[in-house]
Amino acid sequence: MPDWGISVVFEGQNFSRLLIGLLVSLRIAAVAVFFAAVGGVVLGLLMTSHCRLVRWACRLYLEAIRIIPILVWLFLFYFGLTKIFQIHLSAEIAADIVFSLWGIAEMGDLVRGAVTSMPRHQLESGMAIGLTKLQVYRHVIIPQAVRRLIPSAINLATRLIKTTSLVVLIGVVEVLKVGQQIIEVSILKTPTASFWVYAIIFLLYFIVCWPISLYSKKLERKWQS
């Protein structure tokens, strides 16, 4: 067979279009990561508050986000808000909001876990050798909390990136959609193109996510000792 179909991927602008499509998903993920980093810390600290009502509300938020599949949330924000509240959100903005909310919730839980798993004695023994509370937090507690946090936080980031692939289902023109367009155009000339296009997209996600997870494992191992 002279034409293996993979050439389609590298024809003309196709590859760069695919990459741009990937960037669309990555942008959504980046926005979510940013808000998760900021909002998650706030939420996490709130979740350790002494006020039961606050803890409860946070818990409700977290569980609600978690129990409903993300795709359903995307539907709710994209189709639902439009119909019910007459707010017209573009698919991208709806995606930004949903993923940010999810990221904040998950990050909040991670932060809460890191903070509550701190051995109590750390603060006391730090103060016992004469450090102020602030100093203990700065030099002892926060570095340790960060170490417990980072691997899971990176894992969350990877999950965010992978899940942004769903936005194609609410019409965002990202890498999968671009791939489908490329396939449609070459359907007559090179019917096998779809195999290679999807294979490339598969590899693109892998190339983005794998190094991140490797780095996280490296960090974990480094800090284990």
Binding site: I68, F75, T82, K83, L169, L176, I183, F195, Y198, S213
Partner: protein, 219 residues
């Protein structure tokens, strides 16, 4: 709120929920089997297979289910291998879930202490008896929370199979919205049905977790 419409749509949603559950059931069961096999391969360091397993785990954990499904369903079709949507979905779920279950089992296996193993060996148990009576039960108890969380995760992931035209809850919802524009009613039903599927599962798993933990773990 058009209640008549809601009532009329319920049978459709029930059928879709059935499909979702059946898919999830097969996906979860297969991924448990795959996961255990992978974990054992890695635990016993079986040559060649352990490398394959590592490659598999990295590939499946770093790519989204949606892409895997598209690749299997649309991609292979054009080079002559046509998979049925149903098969694709189950395979995709098992492929993705297997690596997560493998990780859960691996952590469980490693949690069984060396002294426990030595204690079993000192009684004259063979390696396979050791695995069956001492290691696996304890590993399983440790792994249950993670296995349960993965099961719930996989049930939620079934929402993705609507993309390859399987009539699950998402597909039905999208269909109905497109046809009748009764967005609010459809979305309400969608959320309710997912809650109806996921909340009981979540509670059942918390119960199992507690029972397994209560089985006197800890010397």
């Amino acid at each position: 709120m058009d209640y008549a419409f809601v009532a009329a749509s319920i049978p459709l949603f029930i059928k879709a929920a059935e499909l979702t559950l059946v898919l999830a059931f097969w996906g979860i069961s297969l991924s448990l089997a795959v996961g255990l096999a992978c974990a054992l391969v890695l635990y016993y360091r079986i040559r060649v297979f352990d490398k394959i397993t590592v490659v598999y785990i990295e590939l499946s954990r770093n790519t989204p289910l949606l892409i895997q499904l598209f690749f299997l369903y649309y991609g292979f079709a054009k080079i002559g291998i046509k998979f049925e949507a149903y098969t694709c979905a189950v395979f995709g779920l098992a492929f993705l879930g297997g690596s997560y279950m493998a990780e859960a089992f691996r952590a469980g296996l490693e949690a069984v202490t060396k002294s426990q193993i030595e204690s079993g060996l000192s009684l004259g148990l063979t390696r396979s008896q050791l695995m069956r009576y001492i290691i696996l039960p304890q590993a399983f108890a440790v792994a249950v929370p993670a296995l349960g969380a993965n099961a719930i995760f996989l049930l939620k992931e079934t929402s993705v199979v609507s993309a390859i035209a399987l009539a699950d809850l998402m597909f039905v919802a999208k269909d109905l919205i497109g046809m009748y524009y009764k967005t609010t009613e459809v979305l309400l039903l969608l959320v309710l049905f997912y809650l109806a599927l996921l909340l009981p599962l979540s509670m059942m798993l918390t119960y199992i977790e507690r029972r397994v933990r209560h089985a006197g773990l800890g010397n």
